[in-house]
């Protein structure tokens, strides 16, 4: 297709404030539409999932990453390439357990919450950046990896850092065999 050829070598840039304000308006509108925080979180996650399933194609086309052989490699790529590419930040990666399928992305700085001082009153369970979880989940699913992505810590809720937890549910090998059948 002609699409990749048309694309300029540098990524098209969009004003950061515009992006952050747009996301803020989106969340604020969802908060008006839904009374329960859980519903807002779910909706954000669903939206992110739809974005992720599409975005992964763009990501693979642009980044030219090789096949990953371990969960830690995958998480590293997400943190160092994907986050850098789309949000301009590089989260730290930590591994939580011995079976090496639970990882945490620790965001020291989150551009999405730049203007948000605190969660609105009565919305203490809101995950403001739940869209990110959905995106990661959707993108991983498109490369045949089932994962559970949730916020473990959130600066807006008074924690010192923002932490996104990724739990891989199945081994990639199993998936590979299934596809070969």
């Amino acid at each position: 297709m002609s699409r990749p050829a048309q694309r300029r070598p540098g990524y098209p840039k969009i004003n950061k404030d515009l992006f952050v304000l747009t996301y803020g308006a989106l969340v604020a509108q969802l908060c008006k539409d839904y009374e329960k925080d859980e519903d807002v979180n779910k909706y954000l996650d669903n939206m992110g999932y739809s974005i992720g399933t599409r975005l992964v194609e763009d990501f693979l086309a642009r980044s030219c990453v090789r096949r990953c052989h371990s969960y830690s490699e995958i998480t590293g790529i997400i943190a160092q390439v994907a986050f850098k590419m789309y949000l301009g930040i590089t989260p730290r990666v930590t591994c939580n357990n011995s079976s090496r399928n639970e990882f945490s992305l620790i965001l020291e700085k989150n551009p999405l919450v730049e203007f948000v001082e605190e969660l609105p009153p009565g919305r203490s369970a809101l995950c403001y950046c739940n869209l990110l979880c959905g995106i990661i989940r959707g993108a991983l699913e498109m490369v045949h990896l089932d994962a559970d992505v949730t916020f473990l810590q959130d600066r807006l809720k008074g924690d010192s850092v923002t932490e996104i937890g990724i739990t891989f549910l199945k081994k990639p090998e199993e998936k590979k065999y299934r596809r070969k059948k």
Partner: protein, 139 residues
């Protein structure tokens, strides 16, 4: 250094007003209220020149016996009014100007908060602390 700081919406109702607690609060409310007429006068007198020059600082609106009232208008017609003690001679025009600029920046951050509805009263903690720092700073 300031004894009262107020933010007035385009339609001339207060978005935020705070004064030092030791003195009669109502007196400052009156003072700010009266100053709005002067602000309107200054804006209409400047007319188009204001838009062109982008000079938001209006300068001294009027002095009273023991206070001076300064004004500042954003391009969206939101007014900032600051009352300072007139015994405080160390306060120059330039300092007032920079204080207003700081206030304006802080106000912009409040406006950018997605959970703040434009036109509501300001309850932001960050804005509060900016104002507090301006009121307690010794000069």
């Amino acid at each position: 250094m300031a004894v009262c700081i107020a933010v007035i919406a385009k339609e001339n109702y207060p978005l935020y007003i705070r004064s030092i607690p030791t003195e009669n609060e109502l007196k400052f409310h009156y003072m700010v209220h009266t100053s709005l007429d002067v602000v309107d006068e200054k804006i209409s007198a400047l007319g188009k020149a204001l838009v062109d020059q982008r000079e938001l600082y209006l300068g001294l609106l009027y002095p009273t016996e023991d206070h001076k009232v300064y004004g500042y208008v954003t391009n969206s017609k939101v007014k900032f009014v600051m009352v300072v003690d007139s015994s405080n001679t160390a306060l120059r025009d330039n300092e007032i100007r920079s204080m207003f600029r700081k206030l304006h920046n802080s106000y912009t951050d409040v406006m950018c908060n997605p959970f703040y509805n434009p036109g509501d009263r300001i309850h932001s903690r960050a804005f509060d602390s900016t104002v507090t720092s301006m009121m307690t700073q010794v000069c």
